[in-house]
């Protein structure tokens, strides 16, 4: 009874105060008889929060903006075998026809590919939302509109930083996001732009926690997610859908990682990822459940003598043809790419890869002067890198193949605005077959606006020395074309900037 009286009193106070408040502060805005045009077209979240509230009226939320642009002009010099009347014997074309398929082992990242992304993060120290707009091409500079190269919103996720209430560094991410494990560089994916262990493309969650213990820090990361959709049954593979494979099923990925870091000197990580499909909506419901699991370990060592990455991974595939690109191994998107590039068409997606990778980066000036060197003078940078993978497959033609790529790069940055570099890459698509090997010699001169500027403008010439059985992909969709003479010389002019 007493509680009921209390409630009535509160309601009466609220009712009495409402008209008084309305008289004191008349609403100058137009009444809303419906939703405003800017309201998001999604169901309301609970509790409902109006979208139109100005950021300045909300405590401590700010907008943060980052981005990355890699903008190359790339020309391939092609010797035409049988020029028609009116056709020159030498063709200059873009893009170049070279053995650098991004989703294959041959990819080295020695020739720049266009990439742009804009990261918008809005939030405060506890909660933030990140949206990333990304593209692999730019319509004003491209010859045609390819919808698959306009990624639109490539990532969108919320980050909850719960370190304060939990008492240790603790973060939860929820949304659509990319995960990359086995990054070979200090802060990036390394010289090959390829995560050694795996990449995940899912909508789901990740939880990261760190437990400090003296000079050590123990790290744990857990994640789970699936793809937002799957190619519907009956979908005809075509350019606009990136030649989707309708045989892949709804794919889920679970992953767990543990590591230990010692100051900023060493970090050791153990990784386990498994991606699987158990979908009855595949054509006829007859596609077997598939699975790709990856076990890996990697180590980063940093100090006066540079940065060393060592990594190893074991990928096991079982009926992997139905596993989608929710997981990528060596940039191969899911089971179909794994079969095409490694396991072979007669493997039924069954087999394994044993992969290792190494990258060593040395700054000579840093080694000589150590902490007295701040990066504001000339330097020589040396980088050595390589990835190898051994294939075990149920397809006898692919079983036992060992693929290897190694490279070296020396950079002399001699002015605050100029430097030169030489890079060598050697790729063996089958280590025991010289005809399936090629080398790339790249010479580069680059300009930048200051010693440590985050911009770079590079003029590059690359020469390809190809084995007789090194083929390129031509046409649409790109397929291996043994009749086409690959370009041997490639010129590029690129600008890169990130912030």
């Amino acid at each position: 009874m007493r509680r009921g009286l209390q409630t009535c009193a509160i309601l009466a106070c609220l009712a009495a105060s409402a008209p008084a408040l309305a008289q004191e502060t008349p609403d100058a805005n137009l009444s809303r008889l419906g939703l405003t045009a800017g309201e998001p077209l999604v169901p309301s979240a609970l509790p409902s929060i109006p979208f139109g509230v100005r950021p300045s009226e909300s405590k401590d939320f700010v907008l943060d903006f980052h981005g990355y642009l890699l903008l190359p002009m790339v020309l391939g010099v092609h010797d035409r075998p049988n020029p028609e009347p009116g056709q020159s014997g030498t063709a200059l074309h873009s893009p170049p026809e070279i053995p650098q398929y991004l989703r294959g082992f041959e990819y080295t990242a020695a020739i720049p590919n266009a990439w742009g992304q804009l990261n918008f993060t809005y939030g405060n120290s506890v909660l933030s939302a990140t949206t990333i707009l990304a593209a692999e091409s730019f319509t004003d500079g491209a010859g045609y509109y390819d919808p698959t190269k306009q990624l639109g919103v490539s990532d969108a996720f919320l980050t909850f930083n719960l370190s304060k209430p939990v008492g240790i560094p603790f973060e939860v991410n929820v949304g659509a996001m990319t995960g990359r494990f086995g990054a070979m560089g200090s802060y990036d994916a390394g010289r090959y732009g390829t995560p050694l262990i795996a990449r995940t493309n899912t909508i789901g969650e990740t939880i990261l926690a760190a437990v400090p213990a003296g000079r050590f820090r123990f790290l744990v990361e857990q994640g789970w997610g699936g793809q937002f959709a799957r190619p519907p049954v009956g979908l005809v593979p075509a350019g606009w859908n990136d030649f989707s494979n309708p045989n892949v099923g709804a794919t889920f990925v679970a992953h767990l990682h543990a590591g230990v870091a010692y100051c900023k000197v060493a970090e050791l990580g153990l990784h386990y990822l498994t991606a699987w499909t158990q979908d009855d909506l595949t054509p006829g419901g007859l596609v077997p459940d598939g699975r790709i699991s990856v076990y890996g370990a990697d180590a980063h060592l940093s100090g006066r003598l540079g940065h060393l990455f060592l990594g190893v991974a074991r990928t096991q595939a079982s009926n992997a043809g139905s596993v989608s690109g929710a997981i990528e191994v060596l940039n191969a998107q899911g089971g179909p790419d794994l079969i095409a590039g490694y396991l072979g068409p007669n493997s039924n997606g069954n087999g394994a890869l044993t992969t290792f990778g190494v990258q060593y980066d040395l700054s000579v000036a840093h080694a000589l002067y150590y902490q007295n060197y701040k990066g504001h003078s000339a330097d020589v940078l040396v980088s050595l890198f390589g990835i190898g993978t051994k294939v075990e497959s149920h397809d006898p033609q692919f079983d036992g193949v060992f693929k290897l790529k190694v490279g070296a790069e020396v950079t002399y940055d001699f002015l605050s605005w100029m430097g030169v570099s030489e890079r060598f890459d050697h790729v063996r698509l089958n280590a025991s077959d010289d005809t399936q090997a090629f080398s790339i010699f790249s010479s580069r001169i680059f300009l930048h606006t200051s010693w440590l500027a985050r911009d770079e403008f590079a003029l590059q010439w690359s020469y390809f020395a190809d084995g007789a059985a090194v083929y390129v992909r031509t046409g649409y969709p790109p397929t291996i074309d043994p009749t086409y003479n690959p370009d041997l010389n490639v010129l590029s002019l690129s600008g890169t900037f990130w912030w």
């Binding site: 020309l75 074309h93 440590l452």
Partner: protein, 494 residues
């Protein structure tokens, strides 16, 4: 790695800190600009010849079913211009998005975006004495030689180039009054795979060709009032459509032909332009530009030279419109374009300064005359034509203007006009034009415009358009063109 890090390799050489590395503070700034615009017009149709039984009433078309220039750019969408940088280097990204959903336009059009349109880096080094420099690297479009005050005008620039590449700009002050400018650029447009299927979302593509171009520009500006500029651009196309397609051996009939039904052939497209401007208070701005376009098997050249005459898109569009559809893509076109822009208030207030915050009549008048001086399409030999246009705006109040836009064009008509999507002469859907028939479309478009202030960059406009066509234009009695058009639209620029 953080999900926010880009999926790219380390920078060449590993010289610079990576994306995820801690960033130092500095003089960095971020700016968002853009334009939000929406225009829609509906045309009031006319009764077709031999209408089907039960036909009645007046047809209303959205979009309007017209030919000739519209007083607005059709469609609705937004352009976001994002820039981030410091006084030396700035990154620009332009993001396009137009309505493309079935709820807004009845069907899905992926080419409407959203998409990254342009992205480039701009470096402005410290001046070297009187020499100032600017370098641009990335994917972008640049426009040159428009007789309007700001390079565009009523009929647009006579040259626009686009692609991936660079442009280097140099300005040198010879004297305090005389400035010499020089620009040079190299661009490449990635090609389209030979067997790319031309889809509805990609109507304008020429598969199997890629092109590269260079362009150079020289300008003199005296007292910031007199300007004279020369422009040159040369695009080369590499045509790799194989005559061995489908069979593996050379086919004398070459199964994959160009859009002009010619055999694959490397091509070239050159542009030579000269322009002069006078910008003086109170008389306003007068500009004149002369142009020569030279085509050599240009069906095999892509769209590195993007705009030419009358907003044409790339070499193929220029060829089919000015050399004729029955050509090999070889020929020459010349044109002269002029525009005059003035403000009546500025004239009346002189020598006092008029800052735009008061009633005014703004006048723009433009004309463009062209002639085909070489072509192998008989219909277009010595073909000539012209465009005329005027845009008047009487700013009566700070929030209200009355506008009048008028446009006209007249040019030689093609020998054949295909109807109902027909593509061959072996069909009844072809109108054979009388020799000498001209393609003519004129329009008068009075309107009312609302804006938030005298010089604000926003507008809501209502336009009524009355259109006039020659028989070569309105040539299908079963589908007569709309002659009355109502338009409502607006934009906000920020």
């Amino acid at each position: 790695m953080s999900p926010a890090a880009p999926p790219v390799a380390a920078t060449p050489g590993g010289r610079a800190p990576s994306f995820g590395a801690p960033a130092p503070d500095g003089e960095w700034s971020f700016r968002i600009g853009g334009r939000i615009a929406g225009w829609e017009s509906f045309g009031i149709g006319r009764r077709p010849a031999n209408p089907p039984a039960g036909y009645s009433g007046t047809a209303l078309h959205i979009p309007s079913f017209t030919q000739g220039r519209q007083p607005f750019f059709a469609g609705a969408g937004a352009t976001l211009q994002l820039q981030y940088g410091n006084p030396i280097i700035t990154a620009y990204a332009v993001y396009y998005g137009r309505f493309n959903g079935p709820q807004d336009q009845g069907y899905f059009t992926p080419a409407n975006g959203p998409s990254f349109g342009q992205a480039y880096l701009q470096v402005t080094p410290e001046p070297l004495g009187a020499l100032r420099m600017l370098f641009r690297v990335g994917a972008f479009t640049e426009a040159y030689s428009g007789p309007g005050q700001w390079g565009w005008g009523i009929f647009g620039p006579m040259l626009a180039v686009r692609g991936f590449g660079e442009t280097s700009n140099f300005d040198y002050d010879v004297t305090p009054d005389l400035r010499l400018s020089f620009v040079h650029g190299v661009l490449a447009v990635p090609g389209v795979p030979t067997n790319f299927v031309r889809g509805d979302y990609n109507a304008w593509i020429e598969p199997g060709v890629s092109d590269y171009l260079q362009h150079a520009h020289l300008g003199l500006t005296y007292q910031n009032q007199y300007a004279f500029r020369l422009h040159y651009a040369s695009a080369h196309g590499t045509d790799e459509r194989p005559c061995t397609a489908f069979t593996g051996v050379t086919n004398p009939d070459c199964p994959i032909l160009t859009a002009l039904n010619t055999r694959p052939h490397d091509g070239r497209f050159d542009t030579f332009l000269a322009e002069a401007h006078l910008t003086k208070d109170p008389i306003g701005q007068a500009g004149i530009a002369l142009g020569l376009w030279n085509f050599d098997h240009a069906a095999s050249v892509g769209d590195g030279i993007w705009w030419g005459l009358d907003w044409t898109q790339g070499a193929r569009d220029m060829v089919t419109k000015f050399l004729g559809p029955n050509t090999s893509g070889t020929g020459k076109v010349v044109a002269i374009s002029a525009e005059y822009d003035t403000s009546l208030a500025r004239l009346l207030w002189y020598p006092r300064n008029f800052d735009g915050n008061g009633p005014d009549l703004r006048i723009a008048v433009a004309a463009e005359v062209f002639r085909t001086i070489e072509t192998d399409d008989p219909s277009y030999v010595d073909g000539s034509g012209y465009y005329i246009g005027t845009e008047l705006e009487y700013r009566a109040l700070s929030w209200l203007s009355f506008t009048l836009q008028g446009y006209g064009e007249s040019r030689v008509a093609p020998r054949y006009v295909f109807l109902n999507d027909a593509t061959t002469l072996n069909t009844s859907d072809v109108v054979i034009m009388t020799p000498g028939t001209r393609w003519e479309a004129f329009s008068v478009n009075p309107g009312i415009r609302f804006h938030s202030d005298w010089s604000s960059t926003d507008s809501i406009q209502i336009i009524y358009g009355r259109r006039f066509y020659s028989s070569a234009v309105d040539n299908n009695p079963a589908e007569p063109l709309d002659r009355d058009v109502l338009t409502l639209g607006g934009y906000l620029q920020f």
